[in-house]
Symmetry: D2
Subunit: 366 residues, 4 copies
C-alpha cells in the first residue's frame, strides 16, 4: 500500500489533491446500525473550515460533504461509507510561478525526489486540504465512540511560546478565542504574539492537547500496536506535526520512578490510579483513566518574508510567498488531531472485541 | 492482527514471554542475497544484554541467537528468517508473590483488564525481554541498510535531568561511559544522579537520540505512512517510551516560520538544505539530509522504595520491589531505538522501489 | 478491514451500491509516470455495459467514468487515483416488493443475517454493478502491464453445457458472437441453449478462461501468497463464481505424474517447458510460460419462472422475478475476470521488485 | 509482506525449510482463554505424518511439536503462540545431485528465476514439510471452532480417476482405508490404480472434499473477502492444489437457474434451504447450511520413471527421481485442507464480531 489507508478494522482510505476535483474518504469496516447523516460530519468539517478568524487563511471554501454510499434509512449498512467534498474557490494560477520552485519547509522537493514530478497546484496531495478526509472520517468514528460513551476533545495548549496555564483550564473558553486555548489570558498573549509574526510576514506554531474520557481499560495491543504507538503514528501522520507525547511525555524522561509511577487505589470497589502521569496508558494498553496526548505543530512554512531557496534546476532564488495562507494552522488543526485520535481509538475498540474467547461466546452462543 | 507483526514489506513477527521457553522473531520479506550469519545479529544483542555496568540489572543472560531458517550458503534466500533466543537464568519464583499484585507503572493491571488473566512471571509478554526480537530483527535491517550505504546510530542525549551538550558531541565517547552519552562531562553528572536515585531505591529515565545518514531522498509515503508517522509508531511501540520527536520537535512549536524553515541551496550541483530543523523529513518524505529523532524514556517502574498499590482483589498494599531490575534502562534501550529505526527505514526503502514506473522498467525490461 | 480493499501494493478500494449515488474505486500504490486518461478506462467499462445483445439485461446505463484524483498532466502522480461512475437509470421502485423477500440464489438472506438489515434496492452492495469498480481499476492495471509487455485476455470457454472446442480457437471470433466464445460453431449451439432457457423463464451459466502472456518468471510468493492463491482469491471474489482452476485444474487430479509433469527444455538458450499442464505456475511462482485459469460462473439467480421462497418473517412465497435481468451473465463477466487477473498480476509484479538485494542496488546505487 | 503470513485477525506466520533446523508457525490474534496443550496439536500432525501406509513416503519423522509461547496455566494468553517442529531424519545428500537440476513439476526453476538461487535440499521452502506449520496452526483454529460448536472435516472424494460414490458416503470408512475415501468399494479400486502407477514409477493425484457444519450465518465479507474467496486463497495456497470449487462448483456452470437455485423454506421457525447447490455460501457470506468445498490435487511430481529436463545451465538431462517420495499425496493432504479451512473460518468468525454496533454494545456496555 502507498500509505493512503489508515486503520486495521475501521479503515479510512483518503484521496484527493488541493486543486483537483475534490477530496474524499472511503471508510470500510464501520459496523452496521450506526445512525449517520451528512450533518453529523459537516459540523466537524466546519470546525476546520478556513476563514473563521483573522489568523487563518482568507479562502472561502464551504467544504460541503456528501455521503455517496454505505448509509441506508439513516443508518450505516456495514458496507463502505464513501464521502466526497468537492473542491472550489481554487486559484490555481496563484501557483504557476511555483511550478519549479522548491518552497522551504514544504514537500515540493521531496515529492519530486520520490516521484520524478508532482502536481504543484496548491501543494497537490501534500496540501492541508488532505485533512478534510481525516476530519470527515473522524466524525464517523466520533459518533460511534459517543454511542459507547467515549468522548474525545482537543484544544491548543500553546501558541508559539505562549502556554496555557493548566491550573486555569476552562473548556468553554476554547470556543471563545480564535486559538482554541482553554485559558483566556493566554489567548490574549497568543494574539499579541501572532500579530507580531504576521506583521513581519512570519508565521507561528503551537501545541495541541487531546484527551479522551470513559475509554474502557484494555485497548491497545501489547507489542507493536500499543495504544501509544497507534496514536503516535496517527498524530505524526498529520502534516505539520513534529512531535507527540503521551501523559507526562518528555517531562517523564527527567522524572524518577518514585515521582512518575501512578499508585493504584481502590475507588469504591473499582481499581483506579491516584495520579495520571502515564496519560491513561500502561504497557501500551488503556488503563481506564483519562487518555492524554500532545502534538507539536511547526510554524506554517508559507511566509511572506523573503527566504532563500532554489529552483528545480538548482538556481538560487529569493522567494516571498504571497497568496492566502494561514499564519497559524493550530486552531484549524485541533479538530484534525481530535479526528485522528477518534479513528485510532475506535479501530482499537473494534480490535479488542476478539481478545477473549468469552466475548466470542457472548455473541455466537445464543 | 494482534499487533505482534511490524512492517509492510520487511515484516517482523515477534513472540515470547520473559519466563517462557524463549524469545523469537520471524522476518518475512528480507530480499534474497544478503550475506548473513549469527554473529551479525549477536553483536547487536550483546549491546542490550544485561549486566554490563553497575547501573543495569545483574541478571546474567547470554541471549545467544540461532538462525533457524531462511539462510543458505551464508546468504538470505528470500524466505522467512526465523530467529530464536532461548530463555535462561529465570528466577520465576521471584515473581510468585506478585501473582495478584498490580505493580505501579507496569502492565499487570492492563493485561488483566484486557485478557482476563496473565502470565505474571517476569512481566510475561510485557517484559523488556520482548525487545530481544526487535534487536535481532533490527540487526538484519541494519546489515541490509549498510549494504546500500545507509547508517543508523543511537545514543543517550539525556539521563534524567542531565543533558548532553550538543556542542561537545563525541561519538567515540558513547562507547566509553556506561550511559552511552556522547559527552564525558555529562556522563559524570549522570553517574552522580543515578547513584543518588539508586541510594533511595529510586530509578531514572532519559532521552535517546537516533540519527541516520546517507538515506536516499524520497522515503516515506505522503499521507498516513509518512516517514515521521512510521518512525513514531516504531519508537512509541518500545515499552518505556512516552514521547517521540523529529528534528527540532517540540521546540519547533515555539519557533516561527522564519527560524524553522530550512533554506534550500545548491551544493556542488546537488540540492541540499542550509540547516536541518526538519530532521531530514519534509512532507513525510526523507529529504536527503540527516534523519534525526528523539525518544523520551520514562524511569524504570520497578523500584525498591515503598509504593502504594492494590491487589487484584482491590486490597491496599505497601509494595517494595526487590529482585534484579535496571535502575536505568536507557543504556540498554539505545540499541532498541536503533533497531526499530533501522527496521522502519529498510521497510520504507523496499516500499519505495515501486513508486515510479521507470523503476519497474529498469528491473523488468532487460 | 471489511473486505473492500484488494491487493498488497497496488490496492483497490471499492465502494457503492446499485441504487445509491454511484460506484467508485480508489487505487492506491499505482506507480508515478503511467500515462492515463478516462478513455483508457472507459473502453473496459463499455465491455461490461449492459444492453449490448439480446442475452443481457435491457438496462441502458452509460457508466461513464471520471478520474477525480491522482493524474496530472496525463500521467499518474503516485497518489491515489479515485474513480467515480455515477448511477443512473435506476428503477428502485421495481424492488419495493422485494423489501422483505429472500430471493433464492441471492445475498438477501445472508446480508440480513450478517448486518441485521440491508439496502435491498437492486441488490445493494451485492449487485453486479459492484464489478464496475473492479473493471475500472483493472483497466489501470492492464495499462501498466501493457507498458511492461504483459497482456491479459479472457473469453468464454463454455456457455451452459456447450463447450468451445480448443482445437478451433479463434481469438477474433470472441468479438463477433454475443457470448465471447472463440468458436463460431459453439456460439450457434450456445445461442440455441440460451434461447431455450429464456423461453421458460430460466437462466444459464458458463466458464470463462483467462490467459496472460509475456509474464516474467518469478511472480508469486512461495507459501500463502502463491500466484495461484492470489488469483484464486481474486476470481472467487467475483459474485457468481463457484470454482476456479489453474492449467489442467480438476483434470490434473485424474492424471498421473508422467502425463501431468511438463518437461523442461532448452529453447534457443532459454529454459522453457515442452507442455503447459501447470498453466504457467510452478510452486506458486510464474514459470514464464502462458498463465491459464478458468472460472465457473453459476446461472443468474434472478429468473422469471416461479420459485419457492420465504419472506423475512418466514412466510412461504411463490416468487417470479420480473424486471431487467441478464439471462446469462457470462459475456459481461469476461472483462471482470480479465480485470481481477490484471490487478493481481500487477500487484505481484510490484511485490517482486523487492525479492532480491541486487534489485535494490540497481535502483539505489546510482 | 512476502506471503508467509495468512489471515487478518487470526494470523499464522509460517517459516522453515525441509532440511533446515525445523518448521514453525507463529499464531497471533488467538483470543485469550482457549484451553490448549501440545497434544491438541500433535494429533493433527500425526495425521499428516509420513510412513502410515504403503502409498506414502517411507520417511520416519516423528514431527513432535513444542509450544514455545502464548500458553500459561493451560490456556492461551492472547499473545503469540509460537510452535516448533524440529527437522530430523534428513538425507540431505540425497539431494546433492539435484543441486543444479530442474525437476519437472517442482519449484526448482521458479525459485531460481525469482531469487537467483535456492536452498535445493529436500525442496527447501517449497517442500511439503511446509504444511506442518499449517496443520499445527489449524489444530488451534479447530479447537477454537469446536468450542463454538463448529466442526470441519475433510476426506478424499477421488483418487486419480476413481471417484467415491456420494450415495454410499460412510464417514467411518475414511479412517479405515489408506486413502481417506468414504466409500470402501472405491478404496479398493483406488488401491488397484495407485499400485499400477507405482509399478511403472508413476504417481497419482485426486480430489479432497471438506465440509463444515454448524457455522453461523453471516461469515464472510461482501466484496473482496467473500467467504469463497478467502477459502479459495487458503486452499490454492497448498502446494499441489490446481483447482477449488464451492458447492456444485464447475457443475453449476452447466446448470440453469431453475436447477441451481436453492429454495428457502421455513424449518420449524428457522429460515433454511431445501437444497444446497450453493455449498453454504450466498453472496460470499455463509448461509447457515453445510459449507462444502473441493480441492483438485495434482499427481506427485517426483517420479521414478525417466523424464526429460534440463540443468541450471540448460543442458538436456534424463532424470529418474529415486528417494523417499509419496506416490500419492492425497491422504496426507486431507488434514492440510481441513487445517486451512479451519484457519479461514475462525479468522472470519473473529472479523464478524465487529460487523454490528449492537455487538459492540453487548461487550462494552456492561
Amino acid at each position: 500500500m502507498a500509505g493512503s489507508t489508515f486503520g486495521t478494522l475501521f479503515t479510512v482510505t483518503s484521496w484527493g489533491e488541493s486543486h483537483g476535483r475534490g477530496i474524499g474518504a472511503v471508510i470500510d469496516g464501520c459496523p452496521a446500525g450506526l445512525p449517520l447523516c451528512e450533518e453529523d460530519i459537516q459540523r466537524y468539517l466546519n470546525r476546520r473550515r478556513p476563514g473563521q478568524s483573522a489568523y487563518t487563511t482568507g479562502r472561502r471554501e464551504k467544504d460541503l460533504v456528501t455521503i455517496l454510499s454505505g448509509v441506508f434509512d439513516g443508518r450505516t449498512t456495514g458496507t463502505p461509507v464513501s464521502l466526497l467534498v468537492p473542491n472550489e474557490d481554487q486559484h490555481s494560477s496563484d501557483y504557476d510561478k511555483l511550478y519549479d520552485i522548491y518552497r522551504p519547509g514544504h514537500a515540493d522537493y521531496t515529492f519530486d525526489a520520490k516521484y520524478g514530478f508532482r502536481d504543484h497546484r496548491g501543494g497537490g496531495r501534500s496540501s492541508g486540504r488532505e485533512t478534510i478526509a481525516r476530519v470527515a472520517a473522524g466524525a464517523v468514528a466520533m459518533k460511534a465512540l459517543a454511542s459507547l460513551g467515549v468522548t474525545v476533545r482537543a484544544y491548543a495548549s500553546a501558541i508559539g511560546p505562549v502556554k496555557a496555564d493548566p491550573a486555569v483550564f476552562d473548556p468553554d473558553e476554547t470556543g471563545r478565542n480564535p486559538f482554541c486555548l482553554p485559558d483566556a489570558d493566554a489567548a490574549l498573549r497568543a494574539e499579541a504574539f501572532v500579530r507580531e509574526c504576521m506583521a513581519r510576514g512570519d508565521s507561528a506554531g503551537g501545541i495541541i492537547e487531546c484527551v479522551a474520557d470513559c475509554l474502557p481499560a484494555g485497548l491497545g495491543q501489547p507489542v507493536f500496536d500499543k495504544l501509544d504507538a497507534c496514536l503516535g503514528r496517527a498524530i505524526l501522520s498529520i502534516g505539520a506535526v513534529k512531535g507527540v507525547e503521551i501523559g507526562d511525555g518528555f517531562a517523564a524522561a527527567a522524572a524518577t520512578g518514585l515521582t512518575n509511577n501512578d499508585a493504584f487505589v481502590n475507588r469504591k470497589g473499582m481499581i483506579a490510579k491516584k495520579t495520571n502521569h502515564s496519560g491513561g496508558i500502561l504497557g501500551g494498553i488503556s488503563d481506564g483513566s483519562r487518555l492524554i496526548l500532545r502534538a507539536a505543530i511547526k510554524p506554517t512554512p508559507s511566509i511572506g518574508a523573503v527566504q532563500e531557496t532554489v529552483s528545480r534546476q538548482g538556481e538560487a532564488i529569493q522567494l516571498s510567498i504571497h497568496g492566502r495562507h494561514d499564519p497559524l494552522i493550530v486552531p484549524r488543526a485541533v479538530v484534525v488531531v481530535e479526528a485522528m485520535t477518534a479513528i485510532t481509538l475506535f479501530d482499537l475498540l473494534l480490535q479488542n472485541m476478539t481478545c477473549r474467547m468469552e466475548y466470542l461466546e457472548q455473541i455466537y452462543k445464543k
